[in-house]
Amino acid sequence: MAQRPEPGRVYSFSERAFEDCYRDTFGTVWSIARRAARDDGEADDVAQKAYLALYRYWSRGELREPPTHLLYRVAKRGAIDLLRARRRAIGLFTKLPRPAPVDDISGPLGRALRRLRPEDAALVLMQAAGGFSYEELAAIDGKSVGSIRSRLFRARRELAQRYDEEGGER
C-alpha cells in the first residue's frame, strides 16, 4: 500500500491527485483519528490538520516522500496528542460515572487502547486501520523494521491484557 520513497524525487501536485489521495486514504485516517478521539469533532481536527499539512507541502512542491507517508505520519502524531490529552483527562475524572460502553470506541477495547502508551496505541491503530506491513510502517515512521515489529508485538500483547482488565469478552 505505502510507496517506497525515492531520494530526490519531487511528487508532482494536482488538485485531482489530492482528491484521489483523499478518497483512497480517508477511511484509514478517520479510523485512526476517531478511535483516538473523544468525539467526531476532535477526529475532524486531526484529519483536517493531516490533509492540510499534506496539501501545503505537496502544492508547494516541497514533498520529498510519497504523499501517504506524510499524511499518515501527521495523522498518527495527531492521534498521539489526543491520546495523551485523554490520559490526562482520565486521571482527573477517573471517579466520575462513565457512560455505558456501546462499541469498540468507548467499550472495553477502546478503554484498553487508551491505557497503552500513546505512541504504541497509535502504532496499533495505524496497523489495524491501514493494514500496513511492518516494512510499510517502518517507511512511514522512518524507523527500522525490527523496532516496529517488537513495538507492535508488545503493544498487541498489552492491549489484550488491558482488554481483559477492562472486562472484555474472553
Binding site: W30, A43, A129, A160
Partner: protein
C-alpha cells in the same frame, strides 16, 4: 503473540459507521480552508499594488507642487528633496548677481552634495572685478572662500561679462551637521558690494549632504 491478540488488535481496524458522513464533512471543510488562503493572497497583492500606486501619486504630486525632485542617491533608496534650498541676489547699477544654495548631484560623486550656484553679470564700468563666494562656519573667526574668479574683459557683443559657477560645500563626517553664513562678494572697479547673508545648515545623511535654510529663524 497469540491469534487472540492479533484478532483483538484487528478489531480496531474495522470501518466505522461514521466514515462516509465524516468524509463529506471534512472534504467540505478542507475545500473551504484551501480556498481561503488563495483569496487572502489575492487580497494582499491587491492591497500592496494599491498602496504602491497611491504612494507614487503622492510623490509625483508633492514633486510637482513643491518643485521637489525624486532621485536615487548613493545607490540607495529613492530620496525626495527640493533642489533649491535658499536664494539671494544683488541688484545694483552694472551688477546683476544671484546666489542659490542647492542640494544636487555633482560630477564624480554619487551622493547628494550641497553647492552654492552663482550667476554674476557685470557691466563694463564695473570691470575689472573679482567675485568670491564666501562662507563662515558658526563660531569661526574667519571666513573661507568656496570659489574665486577675476574678470576684466567684457564681451564685445554685449559689453558685459557673465560668470557662472557652482561650488560644493566642504565634506562632513557621517551624521555631522554644520551651520554656515554664506554670501556673495563682488569687488568691482567702483567699490565692493556684498549680497545679503544666507544661513544654512548642512547635514551629512546616508544619501549625502542635505541642507536647510536657517536665514530667518536662527542665524549662527
Amino acid at each position: 503473540m497469540t491469534d487472540r491478540d492479533e484478532q483483538l488488535a484487528g478489531r480496531l481496524g474495522t470501518p466505522l459507521p461514521s466514515e462516509r458522513a465524516a468524509a463529506e464533512r471534512n472534504w467540505h471543510a478542507l475545500s473551504a480552508a484551501i480556498a481561503a488562503p488563495r483569496r487572502g493572497r489575492i487580497g494582499a497583492v491587491r492591497g500592496i499594488l494599491t498602496t504602491v500606486a497611491l504612494a507614487a501619486v503622492v510623490l509625483v504630486v508633492l514633486g510637482w507642487w513643491q518643485g521637489a525632485r525624486i532621485d536615487v542617491a548613493g545607490d540607495r533608496l529613492p530620496v525626495l528633496y527640493r533642489e533649491e534650498v535658499a536664494r539671494t541676489s544683488i541688484t545694483a547699477a552694472g551688477i546683476d548677481a544671484s546666489l542659490a544654495i542647492q542640494q544636487k548631484h555633482i560630477e564624480n560623486d554619487d551622493r547628494l552634495r550641497v553647492v552654492g550656484v552663482t550667476d554674476v553679470r557685470l557691466g563694463a564700468d564695473r570691470l575689472p572685478a573679482t567675485i568670491e563666494l564666501r562662507f563662515q562656519a558658526a563660531g569661526a573667526d574667519a571666513y573661507g572662500v568656496l570659489a574665486h574668479s577675476g574678470v576684466s574683459d567684457p564681451r564685445r557683443a554685449t559689453g558685459t561679462t557673465r560668470t557662472l559657477y557652482e561650488a560644493p560645500f566642504p565634506p562632513l563626517a557621517a551624521r555631522e551637521q554644520a551651520t554656515y553664513r554664506v554670501w556673495l562678494h563682488v569687488d568691482t572697479a567702483s567699490g565692493p558690494i556684498d549680497s545679503p547673508v544666507l544661513v544654512i545648515a548642512v547635514t551629512e545623511g546616508p544619501e549625502g549632504q542635505r541642507a536647510s535654510d536657517r536665514t530667518i529663524c536662527c542665524p549662527p
